[in-house]
Amino acid sequence: MISGESNAAAPAPMSTFGSPANTNPNKSYEVVQPPSDGVSSLSFSPKANHLIATSWDNQVRCWEIMQSGANFNSTPKAAIAHDNPVLCSAWKDDGTTVFSGGCDKQAKMWNLLSNQSMQVAAHDAAIKDMAWISEMSLLVTGSWDKTLRYWDTRQPNPVHVQQLPERCYALSVRYPLMVVGTADRNLVIFNLQSPQKEFKRIVSPLKFQTRCIAAFPDQQGFLVGSIEGRVGVHHLDDAQQGKNFTFKCHREGNEIYSVNSLNFHPVHGTFATAGSDGAFNFWDKDSKQRLKAMTRCSQPIPCGTFNSDGSIYAYAICYDWSKGAENHNPATAKTYIYLHQALESEVKGKPRLVAQTRK
């Protein structure tokens, strides 16, 4: 358990591998005491600027983030451990409790006020993604055992087990819409008002492996990101199918990187993508523009997230295994978590313009 003292705001990182700009070209604030191995998920509290990171070092860590304008400060608060790498996390809507799950096939519920944790879910294989559905007071977990399970945290047995066509790779909930992406390009859509049956099952509009999913805040559709440097924008309503499109991103010359994270801005309805190329971008799907392209970092970004009011975009820089075990060097591999101040000019939607003036 980490109970660190407050540290002064870290200056530009003193990296020993190349110039500091290499690991932090966007001059983001570096969160102190990052995990010792790769980060698998990042999650901000819905009620405060508390950041959770789950990691391949089996830990779930919590920092308190203070922000004043462009300045940040981070304080490690606490941590819990699993027996195996932790893959996903979710906050309860009241901001007091954190759920985490991973390769130990369990999900834990961690009450931050009491600093107690207990197991609340079990699967037959690793839990890849999860979400807290506040409208139902249930935790839904998706696993590589090809099931979704709904958990009332007071009960040891799942409230419901939903079979999936394949292993769950990603899920996204915007009540009552839930979209689950599985292996082999299945996308299963649920209406959480009747969760025991699939609302729709479709094939991904992308040609390669599904990597991440984000449901629209207005529940009209969802985004799907794949390993082929492409994001699909898909609407559920048959009448809106004409608005579906895909676009390419996170590509560099001939190299096609995967889109690892899709996150909607909580206020503006724009979204961020983060990729294995080490870049993150902000996009507006309604005007079909990229709002801001950030500079590529020297390592992949496996995950990103906005805070509750959209003023901060947190992202992790670490190896994501996109090049296999042989390119993982734990002796030299470093993990960073950065906070980017999300300026309105970067994340606010813009009308499509024919010609633009340069400033």
């Binding site: 089996n58 390769c103 066509p165 082999d184 096609i256 990229r290 020297s298 390592q299 295994w321 296999g324």
Partner: protein, 420 residues
């Protein structure tokens, strides 16, 4: 003053800013940059070519990640960095580079009305970049949207194009040559799955060399699959090669796999070696460290996964109430093995409550009332002692159906006789 990024408009042939443009306007600069970036051929700075020699220490007990190993000059995953700049890499214009009206695919679009299939922002049009007019793109788009596998040559062409231009860096992937169709190649492996296996093996003391070799052979098998797809685009119907993590404890080598849509492929391809270590399938019952058991349901087919039995919790409010006939009763049948375990726990944890009447129709919560309670008679075989196979006898017709409506899709694997 070095400008960093190349100007996309200039590469397309028309940049309105000319010399005043804040992006690079020269192909010579491109080569310069290329040379500068050569030492950075591996943009992530890992996989150091001069990595420490292979070490193996297993003394790191306190570290959750016990393996320490150096790297080799890992070549097989890296792509050569050819630095080819595509004229319109995103398929639509970007804010920063202020596209001029003609160059951007959408910049010239004044209309706000979306017509069906007028998607211009997909890959088929973007490769042609500046030269495509909206009408050309529209034609291409409708072709892409309506792809049917009638002509193997056409399919081959698409596959070849994809393998050349759309080849992602991550190779262990499924693939379909058309976005509306199911996968031609199945057997997805995600980054996390590969990593989880590697970590698990390292924990068990497998050395780096073996891990890397296993990953490499997985990669090679997958690359071979893609190659054979290229030569025979319709081979998938015979040989889809399901993912190794399929819940089969038996690591068999390429047995003829079943149809692609089988939710629980009973056989594995040559990736079978990955299967047991991925531990995705029905795991041994976990240690009951926790106050509650982890109830498991026996397999319905020899290799199906075991979902837990799920008596609906009394507190789970009404949103699980039945909305018409669904084949739910099929999925949650008891088995004599676990029923003993179940009944005691159930009786203590889930007392029958009035709320259950909501579920009475086909929900399995009726099972709490005892095996004799059958529900609406859809399936007569919901008794603990019944063989599970019989559950399907009433509803076997569902497996013979060609097309399932939402809500009818059975949750369980089909019984053996339906496996093609």
């Amino acid at each position: 003053m070095m400008k960093k990024e190349l100007c996309r408009n200039f590469l397309r042939g028309n940049c309105r800013y000319g010399d005043k443009c804040k992006f690079l306007h020269s192909t010579q600069q491109q080569q310069q940059q290329q040379q500068q970036q050569q030492p950075r051929a591996n943009p992530f700075g890992f996989g150091a070519q001069t990595g420490t020699p292979f070490q193996r220490t297993n003394t790191q007990q306190q570290k959750p990640n016990p393996f320490r190993f150096g790297t080799q000059a890992g070549a097989s995953f890296q792509q050569t960095n050819t630095q080819q700049q595509k004229p319109n890499p995103f398929g639509f214009g970007v804010q920063n580079s202020s596209p001029s009206t003609g160059a951007s695919n959408f910049g010239g679009q004044q209309t706000k009305i979306f017509k069906p299939f007028e998607n211009k922002w997909t890959r088929s049009s973007s490769a042609a970049g500046a030269s495509s007019t909206p009408s050309q793109q529209q034609a291409k788009q409708s072709q892409a949207a309506d792809h049917e596998c009638t002509d193997p040559e056409a399919c081959k062409h698409i596959i070849a194009k994809d393998l050349e231009q759309e080849k992602p860096l991550w190779k262990l992937t499924c693939y379909s040559h058309s976005k509306d169709l199911p996968c031609d190649i199945t057997g997805d492996v995600s980054y996390e799955e590969l990593r989880a296996v590697a970590y698990d093996e390292a924990k068990r003391g497998v050395n780096l060399q073996s891990i890397v070799e296993r990953e490499r052979s997985l990669l090679n098998s997958k690359l071979n699959e893609f190659q054979s797809l290229l030569h025979n685009p319709y081979s998938r119907r015979e040989d889809p090669g399901p993912f190794p993590g399929a819940p089969s404890p038996v690591a068999s080598t390429s047995t003829p796999p079943p149809a692609v849509r089988h939710p629980n492929p009973p056989s594995v391809s040559s990736f079978g070696q990955l299967g047991p270590s991925l531990n995705i399938g029905p795991a041994a019952p976990p240690n009951n460290v926790f106050p509650f058991q982890n109830p498991t349901q026996p397999v319905q087919t020899p290799v199906a996964i075991r979902p837990t039995t799920t008596p609906f919790a009394p507190s789970a409010s009404n949103f699980f109430s039945q909305t018409g006939g669904s084949p739910f009763g099929n999925s949650l049948s008891f088995n004599s093995n676990s029923s003993n375990n179940q009944s005691s726990m159930l009786s203590s944890s889930f007392p029958a409550s009035p709320q259950f009447t909501n579920f009475a129709i086909t929900q399995p919560s009726m099972l709490l009332n005892g095996p004799s309670h059958v529900g609406d008679g859809q399936e007569p075989a919901l008794k603990p002692s019944e063989s599970v196979q019989k559950v399907f006898s009433g509803d076997a017709a569902i497996w013979a159906k060609e097309k399932w409506n939402p809500g009818e899709i059975p949750e369980e694997a089909p019984p053996d006789e339906f496996i093609r």
